[in-house]
Symmetry: C2
Subunit: 245 residues, 2 copies
DNA sequence: AAGTGGTCTAGACCACATT
DNA sequence: ATGTGGTCTAGACCACTTT
Protein backbone atom coordinates (compact mmCIF):
# COMPACT_ATOMS: atom_id res chain seq x y z
CA UNK A 1 0.00 0.00 0.00
CA UNK A 2 2.40 2.72 -1.06
CA UNK A 3 1.13 6.10 0.04
CA UNK A 4 3.00 8.97 -1.50
CA UNK A 5 3.80 12.24 0.24
CA UNK A 6 1.31 13.93 -2.05
CA UNK A 7 -1.45 11.56 -0.99
CA UNK A 8 -0.74 12.06 2.69
CA UNK A 9 -0.80 15.81 2.15
CA UNK A 10 -4.10 15.51 0.29
CA UNK A 11 -5.53 13.57 3.17
CA UNK A 12 -4.39 16.08 5.75
CA UNK A 13 -5.61 18.95 3.59
CA UNK A 14 -9.04 17.41 3.37
CA UNK A 15 -9.12 16.92 7.11
CA UNK A 16 -8.13 20.55 7.61
CA UNK A 17 -10.85 21.90 5.35
CA UNK A 18 -13.37 19.53 6.90
CA UNK A 19 -12.72 21.22 10.20
CA UNK A 20 -11.11 18.24 11.91
CA UNK A 21 -8.01 20.38 12.35
CA UNK A 22 -8.89 23.97 13.14
CA UNK A 23 -6.60 26.96 12.64
CA UNK A 24 -3.87 26.80 15.23
CA UNK A 25 -4.36 23.08 15.84
CA UNK A 26 -1.45 20.71 15.90
CA UNK A 27 -1.21 18.29 13.01
CA UNK A 28 -0.09 14.66 13.32
CA UNK A 29 3.69 14.72 13.51
CA UNK A 30 6.23 12.89 11.42
CA UNK A 31 6.47 9.84 13.72
CA UNK A 32 2.70 9.49 13.71
CA UNK A 33 2.52 9.66 9.94
CA UNK A 34 5.31 7.12 9.60
CA UNK A 35 3.34 4.80 11.80
CA UNK A 36 -0.10 5.39 10.32
CA UNK A 37 0.82 5.37 6.66
CA UNK A 38 3.78 3.03 6.85
CA UNK A 39 6.21 5.32 5.06
CA UNK A 40 9.76 6.47 5.63
CA UNK A 41 10.29 9.45 7.86
CA UNK A 42 11.45 11.60 4.97
CA UNK A 43 8.23 10.93 3.11
CA UNK A 44 6.22 12.04 6.12
CA UNK A 45 8.44 15.09 6.42
CA UNK A 46 7.87 15.95 2.77
CA UNK A 47 4.13 15.55 3.16
CA UNK A 48 4.11 18.17 5.90
CA UNK A 49 6.47 20.32 3.89
CA UNK A 50 3.94 20.32 1.07
CA UNK A 51 1.28 21.76 3.32
CA UNK A 52 3.77 24.32 4.56
CA UNK A 53 4.75 25.53 1.10
CA UNK A 54 1.06 25.73 0.24
CA UNK A 55 0.66 28.14 3.09
CA UNK A 56 -1.73 25.89 4.96
CA UNK A 57 0.56 25.08 7.85
CA UNK A 58 3.73 26.16 9.56
CA UNK A 59 6.24 24.25 11.60
CA UNK A 60 7.55 25.08 15.01
CA UNK A 61 10.71 22.99 15.15
CA UNK A 62 10.94 20.92 18.26
CA UNK A 63 7.27 21.31 18.94
CA UNK A 64 5.11 20.37 16.00
CA UNK A 65 3.40 21.40 12.81
CA UNK A 66 0.32 23.56 13.06
CA UNK A 67 -2.56 24.75 10.89
CA UNK A 68 -2.03 28.34 9.89
CA UNK A 69 -4.35 31.10 11.01
CA UNK A 70 -5.43 33.97 8.79
CA UNK A 71 -6.35 37.26 10.43
CA UNK A 72 -5.62 39.83 7.82
CA UNK A 73 -5.21 43.54 8.17
CA UNK A 74 -7.61 45.43 5.97
CA UNK A 75 -5.77 48.07 4.00
CA UNK A 76 -8.09 50.46 2.19
CA UNK A 77 -5.94 52.49 -0.16
CA UNK A 78 -8.50 55.24 -0.66
CA UNK A 79 -10.70 55.50 2.40
CA UNK A 80 -12.27 58.82 1.61
CA UNK A 81 -14.32 57.37 -1.18
CA UNK A 82 -15.33 54.17 0.51
CA UNK A 83 -17.07 55.64 3.53
CA UNK A 84 -19.85 57.48 1.76
CA UNK A 85 -20.42 55.76 -1.54
CA UNK A 86 -19.73 52.11 -1.04
CA UNK A 87 -21.94 51.51 1.93
CA UNK A 88 -24.12 48.71 0.70
CA UNK A 89 -21.75 45.99 -0.42
CA UNK A 90 -20.09 44.09 2.38
CA UNK A 91 -16.57 42.87 2.71
CA UNK A 92 -15.99 39.36 1.47
CA UNK A 93 -13.32 38.55 4.01
CA UNK A 94 -14.26 38.64 7.63
CA UNK A 95 -11.37 40.91 8.46
CA UNK A 96 -11.82 42.61 11.76
CA UNK A 97 -12.29 46.22 10.78
CA UNK A 98 -11.21 47.22 14.26
CA UNK A 99 -7.93 48.99 13.76
CA UNK A 100 -5.09 47.16 15.37
CA UNK A 101 -2.15 48.75 17.08
CA UNK A 102 0.52 49.54 14.56
CA UNK A 103 4.10 50.28 15.46
CA UNK A 104 6.69 51.82 13.23
CA UNK A 105 10.28 50.83 13.89
CA UNK A 106 13.71 50.83 12.36
CA UNK A 107 13.29 54.23 10.79
CA UNK A 108 16.23 55.26 8.66
CA UNK A 109 16.59 58.49 6.75
CA UNK A 110 19.44 59.34 4.45
CA UNK A 111 20.30 61.09 1.22
CA UNK A 112 21.71 59.26 -1.75
CA UNK A 113 21.68 59.06 -5.52
CA UNK A 114 18.40 57.82 -6.96
CA UNK A 115 18.43 54.26 -8.27
CA UNK A 116 17.50 54.10 -11.92
CA UNK A 117 13.97 52.88 -11.39
CA UNK A 118 13.32 55.53 -8.73
CA UNK A 119 14.68 58.32 -10.93
CA UNK A 120 12.37 57.14 -13.67
CA UNK A 121 9.36 56.99 -11.40
CA UNK A 122 10.04 60.42 -9.94
CA UNK A 123 10.83 61.93 -13.32
CA UNK A 124 14.30 62.94 -12.21
CA UNK A 125 17.66 62.83 -13.90
CA UNK A 126 19.66 59.67 -13.35
CA UNK A 127 21.55 59.74 -10.09
CA UNK A 128 19.74 62.85 -8.93
CA UNK A 129 19.87 63.21 -5.14
CA UNK A 130 16.94 61.75 -3.23
CA UNK A 131 15.92 61.52 0.39
CA UNK A 132 15.28 57.93 1.35
CA UNK A 133 12.99 57.07 4.25
CA UNK A 134 12.95 53.44 5.25
CA UNK A 135 10.91 51.82 8.02
CA UNK A 136 9.13 48.67 9.10
CA UNK A 137 5.57 48.27 10.38
CA UNK A 138 4.69 45.86 13.15
CA UNK A 139 1.27 44.57 14.14
CA UNK A 140 0.95 42.57 17.33
CA UNK A 141 4.70 42.67 17.54
CA UNK A 142 5.19 40.98 14.20
CA UNK A 143 6.66 42.71 11.16
CA UNK A 144 4.10 42.93 8.39
CA UNK A 145 5.47 45.56 6.05
CA UNK A 146 8.72 47.15 4.99
CA UNK A 147 8.49 50.50 3.27
CA UNK A 148 11.04 52.69 1.56
CA UNK A 149 10.12 56.13 0.27
CA UNK A 150 12.09 58.16 -2.22
CA UNK A 151 11.62 61.95 -2.42
CA UNK A 152 13.46 64.52 -4.54
CA UNK A 153 16.19 65.85 -2.25
CA UNK A 154 16.10 69.32 -3.73
CA UNK A 155 12.44 69.57 -2.80
CA UNK A 156 12.45 68.29 0.77
CA UNK A 157 15.97 68.73 2.07
CA UNK A 158 15.02 71.73 4.18
CA UNK A 159 11.91 70.16 5.72
CA UNK A 160 11.17 67.94 8.66
CA UNK A 161 10.91 65.08 6.17
CA UNK A 162 14.62 64.47 6.64
CA UNK A 163 14.02 63.85 10.36
CA UNK A 164 13.00 60.41 11.64
CA UNK A 165 9.93 62.01 13.20
CA UNK A 166 8.17 63.99 10.50
CA UNK A 167 5.66 65.58 12.87
CA UNK A 168 1.85 65.64 12.89
CA UNK A 169 0.29 64.53 9.61
CA UNK A 170 3.52 62.93 8.49
CA UNK A 171 5.33 63.31 5.22
CA UNK A 172 2.26 64.36 3.25
CA UNK A 173 1.45 67.20 5.63
CA UNK A 174 5.02 68.49 5.28
CA UNK A 175 4.80 68.26 1.50
CA UNK A 176 1.55 70.23 1.61
CA UNK A 177 3.28 72.98 3.59
CA UNK A 178 5.79 73.53 0.83
CA UNK A 179 3.15 73.63 -1.86
CA UNK A 180 3.64 70.08 -3.01
CA UNK A 181 0.55 68.42 -1.59
CA UNK A 182 0.02 64.95 -3.03
CA UNK A 183 -3.30 64.73 -4.83
CA UNK A 184 -3.08 61.82 -7.21
CA UNK A 185 -1.77 58.36 -6.51
CA UNK A 186 -0.85 55.37 -8.58
CA UNK A 187 -0.16 52.01 -7.06
CA UNK A 188 1.41 49.24 -9.08
CA UNK A 189 1.62 45.92 -7.38
CA UNK A 190 2.50 42.35 -7.89
CA UNK A 191 2.70 39.24 -5.76
CA UNK A 192 5.60 36.84 -5.72
CA UNK A 193 7.59 34.61 -3.44
CA UNK A 194 10.10 36.42 -1.25
CA UNK A 195 13.86 36.21 -1.49
CA UNK A 196 15.55 34.78 1.56
CA UNK A 197 16.51 38.25 2.77
CA UNK A 198 12.97 39.52 2.44
CA UNK A 199 11.76 36.42 4.17
CA UNK A 200 13.99 37.25 7.09
CA UNK A 201 13.07 40.93 7.15
CA UNK A 202 9.39 40.14 7.47
CA UNK A 203 9.85 36.98 9.54
CA UNK A 204 7.91 35.02 6.96
CA UNK A 205 7.20 31.35 7.30
CA UNK A 206 7.62 29.19 4.22
CA UNK A 207 4.67 29.31 1.87
CA UNK A 208 3.97 33.01 2.41
CA UNK A 209 4.13 35.25 -0.65
CA UNK A 210 4.83 38.96 -0.52
CA UNK A 211 3.05 41.81 -2.24
CA UNK A 212 5.35 44.41 -3.73
CA UNK A 213 3.71 47.81 -4.16
CA UNK A 214 5.08 50.91 -5.79
CA UNK A 215 3.06 53.99 -4.98
CA UNK A 216 3.70 57.23 -6.81
CA UNK A 217 2.29 60.38 -5.24
CA UNK A 218 1.70 63.31 -7.58
CA UNK A 219 0.73 66.89 -7.00
CA UNK A 220 -2.34 68.39 -8.64
CA UNK A 221 -0.12 69.54 -11.52
CA UNK A 222 1.15 65.99 -11.95
CA UNK A 223 4.57 66.40 -10.44
CA UNK A 224 5.73 63.17 -8.77
CA UNK A 225 6.87 64.02 -5.24
CA UNK A 226 7.15 60.65 -3.60
CA UNK A 227 7.78 57.09 -4.68
CA UNK A 228 7.07 54.56 -1.99
CA UNK A 229 8.09 50.95 -2.35
CA UNK A 230 6.26 48.68 0.06
CA UNK A 231 6.81 45.03 0.72
CA UNK A 232 3.92 43.33 2.49
CA UNK A 233 3.53 39.99 4.16
CA UNK A 234 0.78 38.78 1.85
CA UNK A 235 -0.71 36.59 4.54
CA UNK A 236 -1.23 39.60 6.78
CA UNK A 237 -3.18 41.79 4.39
CA UNK A 238 -6.35 42.19 2.45
CA UNK A 239 -6.04 45.14 0.10
CA UNK A 240 -8.98 47.24 -0.94
CA UNK A 241 -9.28 49.70 -3.79
CA UNK A 242 -12.38 51.73 -4.60
CA UNK A 243 -12.89 53.56 -7.81
CA UNK A 244 -15.51 55.04 -10.06
CA UNK A 245 -16.09 54.48 -13.71
CA UNK B 1 33.06 19.89 3.34
CA UNK B 2 29.35 19.44 3.88
CA UNK B 3 27.41 21.65 1.54
CA UNK B 4 23.76 21.87 2.41
CA UNK B 5 20.92 22.16 -0.06
CA UNK B 6 20.39 25.70 1.18
CA UNK B 7 23.97 26.65 0.41
CA UNK B 8 23.83 25.17 -3.06
CA UNK B 9 20.61 27.09 -3.66
CA UNK B 10 22.25 30.28 -2.39
CA UNK B 11 25.10 29.76 -4.78
CA UNK B 12 22.83 29.17 -7.75
CA UNK B 13 20.66 32.13 -6.77
CA UNK B 14 23.69 34.39 -6.70
CA UNK B 15 24.76 33.14 -10.10
CA UNK B 16 21.29 33.80 -11.44
CA UNK B 17 21.15 37.36 -10.17
CA UNK B 18 24.70 37.97 -11.38
CA UNK B 19 23.50 37.20 -14.87
CA UNK B 20 25.46 34.00 -15.32
CA UNK B 21 22.16 32.23 -15.83
CA UNK B 22 19.72 34.37 -17.76
CA UNK B 23 15.94 33.92 -17.78
CA UNK B 24 15.12 30.79 -19.71
CA UNK B 25 18.60 29.36 -19.28
CA UNK B 26 19.14 25.81 -18.16
CA UNK B 27 20.58 25.37 -14.69
CA UNK B 28 23.10 22.69 -13.74
CA UNK B 29 21.15 19.48 -13.29
CA UNK B 30 21.04 17.12 -10.36
CA UNK B 31 23.87 14.88 -11.59
CA UNK B 32 26.10 17.90 -12.12
CA UNK B 33 25.42 19.23 -8.64
CA UNK B 34 26.08 15.82 -7.11
CA UNK B 35 29.40 15.80 -8.85
CA UNK B 36 30.41 19.40 -8.19
CA UNK B 37 29.35 19.67 -4.58
CA UNK B 38 29.84 16.06 -3.58
CA UNK B 39 26.36 15.57 -2.16
CA UNK B 40 23.68 12.95 -2.43
CA UNK B 41 21.29 13.17 -5.30
CA UNK B 42 18.40 14.02 -3.03
CA UNK B 43 20.28 16.98 -1.63
CA UNK B 44 20.88 18.29 -5.12
CA UNK B 45 17.23 17.71 -5.91
CA UNK B 46 16.17 19.65 -2.84
CA UNK B 47 18.49 22.51 -3.70
CA UNK B 48 16.77 22.91 -7.05
CA UNK B 49 13.40 22.49 -5.39
CA UNK B 50 14.21 25.44 -3.17
CA UNK B 51 14.74 27.68 -6.16
CA UNK B 52 11.52 26.37 -7.65
CA UNK B 53 9.41 27.10 -4.59
CA UNK B 54 10.98 30.55 -4.45
CA UNK B 55 9.65 31.16 -7.91
CA UNK B 56 13.09 31.61 -9.41
CA UNK B 57 13.08 28.47 -11.51
CA UNK B 58 10.85 25.76 -12.89
CA UNK B 59 11.53 22.20 -13.83
CA UNK B 60 10.74 20.47 -17.07
CA UNK B 61 10.90 16.81 -16.08
CA UNK B 62 13.03 14.76 -18.37
CA UNK B 63 14.67 17.85 -19.73
CA UNK B 64 16.10 20.09 -17.05
CA UNK B 65 15.57 22.94 -14.62
CA UNK B 66 15.36 26.44 -16.02
CA UNK B 67 15.45 30.04 -14.82
CA UNK B 68 11.99 31.50 -14.82
CA UNK B 69 10.99 34.40 -17.06
CA UNK B 70 8.70 37.21 -16.00
CA UNK B 71 6.64 38.99 -18.64
CA UNK B 72 3.64 40.33 -16.82
CA UNK B 73 0.38 41.59 -18.16
CA UNK B 74 -0.36 45.13 -17.05
CA UNK B 75 -3.85 45.33 -15.60
CA UNK B 76 -4.95 48.92 -14.93
CA UNK B 77 -8.18 48.56 -13.03
CA UNK B 78 -9.47 52.11 -13.42
CA UNK B 79 -8.67 52.68 -17.05
CA UNK B 80 -10.18 49.38 -17.96
CA UNK B 81 -13.44 50.31 -16.37
CA UNK B 82 -13.76 53.88 -17.55
CA UNK B 83 -17.16 54.56 -19.05
CA UNK B 84 -15.66 55.33 -22.43
CA UNK B 85 -14.24 51.85 -22.63
CA UNK B 86 -17.19 49.69 -21.97
CA UNK B 87 -20.05 51.78 -23.26
CA UNK B 88 -18.44 52.17 -26.65
CA UNK B 89 -18.57 48.51 -27.51
CA UNK B 90 -15.24 47.24 -26.31
CA UNK B 91 -14.65 44.31 -24.08
CA UNK B 92 -13.39 45.13 -20.64
CA UNK B 93 -10.44 42.88 -21.14
CA UNK B 94 -9.31 44.29 -24.44
CA UNK B 95 -8.05 47.45 -22.79
CA UNK B 96 -5.00 46.13 -21.03
CA UNK B 97 -3.25 43.50 -23.02
CA UNK B 98 -2.58 45.59 -26.09
CA UNK B 99 -0.39 43.44 -28.29
CA UNK B 100 -0.96 40.03 -26.82
CA UNK B 101 -3.52 37.54 -27.97
CA UNK B 102 -6.24 37.03 -25.40
CA UNK B 103 -8.73 34.24 -25.51
CA UNK B 104 -11.72 33.57 -23.33
CA UNK B 105 -12.60 29.92 -22.97
CA UNK B 106 -14.64 27.54 -20.90
CA UNK B 107 -17.54 29.92 -20.53
CA UNK B 108 -20.27 28.54 -18.31
CA UNK B 109 -23.49 30.27 -17.38
CA UNK B 110 -26.04 28.92 -14.98
CA UNK B 111 -28.49 29.90 -12.29
CA UNK B 112 -28.15 28.75 -8.71
CA UNK B 113 -28.54 29.77 -5.10
CA UNK B 114 -26.05 32.38 -3.94
CA UNK B 115 -23.26 31.12 -1.70
CA UNK B 116 -23.24 32.88 1.65
CA UNK B 117 -20.34 35.16 0.89
CA UNK B 118 -21.83 36.15 -2.46
CA UNK B 119 -25.22 36.88 -0.93
CA UNK B 120 -23.48 39.07 1.61
CA UNK B 121 -21.46 40.92 -1.01
CA UNK B 122 -24.48 41.46 -3.23
CA UNK B 123 -26.68 42.44 -0.31
CA UNK B 124 -29.15 39.66 -1.10
CA UNK B 125 -31.05 37.25 1.09
CA UNK B 126 -29.28 33.97 1.79
CA UNK B 127 -29.82 31.48 -0.99
CA UNK B 128 -31.32 34.09 -3.26
CA UNK B 129 -31.08 33.06 -6.91
CA UNK B 130 -28.04 34.32 -8.81
CA UNK B 131 -26.75 34.04 -12.34
CA UNK B 132 -23.22 32.68 -12.34
CA UNK B 133 -20.86 33.40 -15.22
CA UNK B 134 -17.60 31.48 -15.13
CA UNK B 135 -14.75 31.64 -17.63
CA UNK B 136 -11.00 31.41 -18.04
CA UNK B 137 -8.66 33.87 -19.77
CA UNK B 138 -5.71 32.72 -21.81
CA UNK B 139 -2.74 34.77 -22.96
CA UNK B 140 -0.37 33.25 -25.46
CA UNK B 141 -2.25 30.03 -25.05
CA UNK B 142 -1.65 29.85 -21.30
CA UNK B 143 -4.36 30.25 -18.69
CA UNK B 144 -3.73 33.36 -16.61
CA UNK B 145 -7.04 34.03 -14.92
CA UNK B 146 -10.19 32.31 -13.82
CA UNK B 147 -13.20 34.52 -13.20
CA UNK B 148 -16.62 33.83 -11.78
CA UNK B 149 -19.27 36.53 -11.70
CA UNK B 150 -22.41 36.51 -9.58
CA UNK B 151 -25.39 38.66 -10.55
CA UNK B 152 -28.85 38.88 -8.97
CA UNK B 153 -30.97 36.50 -11.04
CA UNK B 154 -34.10 38.58 -10.66
CA UNK B 155 -32.30 41.51 -12.22
CA UNK B 156 -30.62 39.92 -15.22
CA UNK B 157 -32.56 36.76 -16.00
CA UNK B 158 -34.24 38.32 -19.04
CA UNK B 159 -31.08 39.78 -20.56
CA UNK B 160 -28.31 38.59 -22.81
CA UNK B 161 -26.20 38.21 -19.69
CA UNK B 162 -27.51 34.68 -19.33
CA UNK B 163 -26.05 33.84 -22.75
CA UNK B 164 -22.44 32.76 -23.14
CA UNK B 165 -21.92 35.63 -25.57
CA UNK B 166 -23.13 38.79 -23.89
CA UNK B 167 -22.80 40.95 -26.98
CA UNK B 168 -20.86 44.17 -27.65
CA UNK B 169 -19.68 45.91 -24.49
CA UNK B 170 -20.21 42.79 -22.46
CA UNK B 171 -22.04 42.37 -19.19
CA UNK B 172 -21.69 46.00 -18.13
CA UNK B 173 -23.24 47.33 -21.31
CA UNK B 174 -26.21 44.99 -20.81
CA UNK B 175 -26.58 46.17 -17.22
CA UNK B 176 -26.57 49.77 -18.41
CA UNK B 177 -29.40 48.95 -20.82
CA UNK B 178 -31.64 47.86 -17.97
CA UNK B 179 -30.88 50.91 -15.88
CA UNK B 180 -28.33 49.23 -13.67
CA UNK B 181 -25.15 50.71 -15.05
CA UNK B 182 -22.20 50.01 -12.75
CA UNK B 183 -20.70 53.24 -11.51
CA UNK B 184 -18.72 52.40 -8.41
CA UNK B 185 -16.34 49.54 -7.89
CA UNK B 186 -14.62 47.98 -4.95
CA UNK B 187 -11.85 45.48 -5.35
CA UNK B 188 -10.66 43.47 -2.39
CA UNK B 189 -7.65 41.34 -3.00
CA UNK B 190 -5.14 39.14 -1.36
CA UNK B 191 -2.25 36.98 -2.46
CA UNK B 192 -1.67 33.44 -1.32
CA UNK B 193 -0.39 30.10 -2.49
CA UNK B 194 -2.83 28.16 -4.64
CA UNK B 195 -4.59 24.97 -3.70
CA UNK B 196 -3.71 21.99 -5.86
CA UNK B 197 -6.94 22.38 -7.84
CA UNK B 198 -6.29 26.04 -8.50
CA UNK B 199 -2.76 25.18 -9.44
CA UNK B 200 -4.10 22.81 -12.04
CA UNK B 201 -6.75 25.21 -13.33
CA UNK B 202 -4.17 27.89 -14.02
CA UNK B 203 -1.38 25.48 -14.98
CA UNK B 204 0.84 27.02 -12.34
CA UNK B 205 4.35 25.87 -11.72
CA UNK B 206 5.44 25.45 -8.12
CA UNK B 207 6.44 28.69 -6.45
CA UNK B 208 3.76 30.78 -8.14
CA UNK B 209 1.27 32.54 -5.88
CA UNK B 210 -2.21 33.55 -6.95
CA UNK B 211 -4.02 36.83 -6.47
CA UNK B 212 -7.63 36.45 -5.41
CA UNK B 213 -9.75 39.49 -6.24
CA UNK B 214 -13.35 40.17 -5.35
CA UNK B 215 -14.80 43.05 -7.32
CA UNK B 216 -18.15 44.47 -6.40
CA UNK B 217 -19.86 46.66 -9.00
CA UNK B 218 -22.44 49.11 -7.72
CA UNK B 219 -24.89 51.39 -9.46
CA UNK B 220 -24.95 55.13 -8.85
CA UNK B 221 -27.57 54.55 -6.16
CA UNK B 222 -25.30 52.06 -4.44
CA UNK B 223 -27.01 48.87 -5.45
CA UNK B 224 -24.53 46.01 -5.88
CA UNK B 225 -25.22 44.41 -9.25
CA UNK B 226 -22.23 42.18 -9.79
CA UNK B 227 -19.73 40.37 -7.66
CA UNK B 228 -16.79 39.05 -9.62
CA UNK B 229 -14.31 36.66 -8.10
CA UNK B 230 -11.08 36.51 -10.03
CA UNK B 231 -8.15 34.22 -9.52
CA UNK B 232 -4.97 35.40 -11.20
CA UNK B 233 -1.66 33.75 -11.87
CA UNK B 234 0.36 36.22 -9.82
CA UNK B 235 3.41 35.74 -12.00
CA UNK B 236 1.49 36.86 -15.04
CA UNK B 237 0.20 40.18 -13.76
CA UNK B 238 1.12 43.62 -12.60
CA UNK B 239 -1.92 45.37 -11.15
CA UNK B 240 -2.40 49.10 -11.25
CA UNK B 241 -4.80 51.28 -9.32
CA UNK B 242 -5.13 55.03 -9.64
CA UNK B 243 -6.92 57.20 -7.12
CA UNK B 244 -7.20 60.70 -5.82
CA UNK B 245 -7.01 61.99 -2.29
C1' DA C 1 19.87 4.50 -25.42
C1' DA C 2 21.11 7.96 -22.43
C1' DG C 3 19.98 11.64 -19.58
C1' DT C 4 16.74 14.15 -16.73
C1' DG C 5 13.83 15.27 -12.74
C1' DG C 6 10.64 12.90 -9.10
C1' DT C 7 10.13 10.12 -5.48
C1' DC C 8 10.84 6.59 -2.27
C1' DT C 9 13.29 3.69 1.60
C1' DA C 10 16.16 3.01 5.77
C1' DG C 11 19.07 4.74 8.76
C1' DA C 12 21.61 8.51 10.81
C1' DC C 13 22.75 12.87 13.37
C1' DC C 14 21.48 17.51 14.89
C1' DA C 15 19.15 21.45 17.34
C1' DC C 16 15.48 22.63 19.71
C1' DA C 17 11.13 22.39 22.69
C1' DT C 18 8.56 20.34 26.03
C1' DT C 19 8.00 17.53 30.10
C1' DA D 1 14.90 12.64 29.05
C1' DT D 2 11.99 12.38 25.36
C1' DG D 3 9.87 13.94 21.30
C1' DT D 4 9.86 17.06 17.51
C1' DG D 5 11.06 18.85 12.93
C1' DG D 6 15.30 19.41 9.68
C1' DT D 7 18.51 17.53 7.02
C1' DC D 8 21.67 14.41 5.13
C1' DT D 9 23.55 9.88 2.77
C1' DA D 10 23.36 5.93 -0.48
C1' DG D 11 20.94 3.40 -3.35
C1' DA D 12 16.81 2.34 -5.95
C1' DC D 13 13.00 2.60 -9.40
C1' DC D 14 9.99 5.30 -12.42
C1' DA D 15 8.33 8.36 -16.26
C1' DC D 16 9.60 11.32 -19.28
C1' DT D 17 12.48 13.87 -22.93
C1' DT D 18 16.12 14.17 -25.87
C1' DT D 19 19.50 12.40 -29.02
Amino acid sequence: MPETARQIADDLRARISSGEFRPGARLPGEPKLVQQYGVAKMTASNALKLLITEGLAYSHPGSGTYVREFQPIHRAANKRLSAAQWSSGQSVWAADTADRSVEVRDIEVYETEAPRWAAKGLNLAEQAPVIVRSRRFFVDGKPVQQATSYLPADLVRETQIVQPDTGPGGVYARLAEIGAAPENFTEELRARMPSSEESEQLALTAGTPVVEIYRTALTSDHRPVELNRMLLNAGAYVLQYDFTS
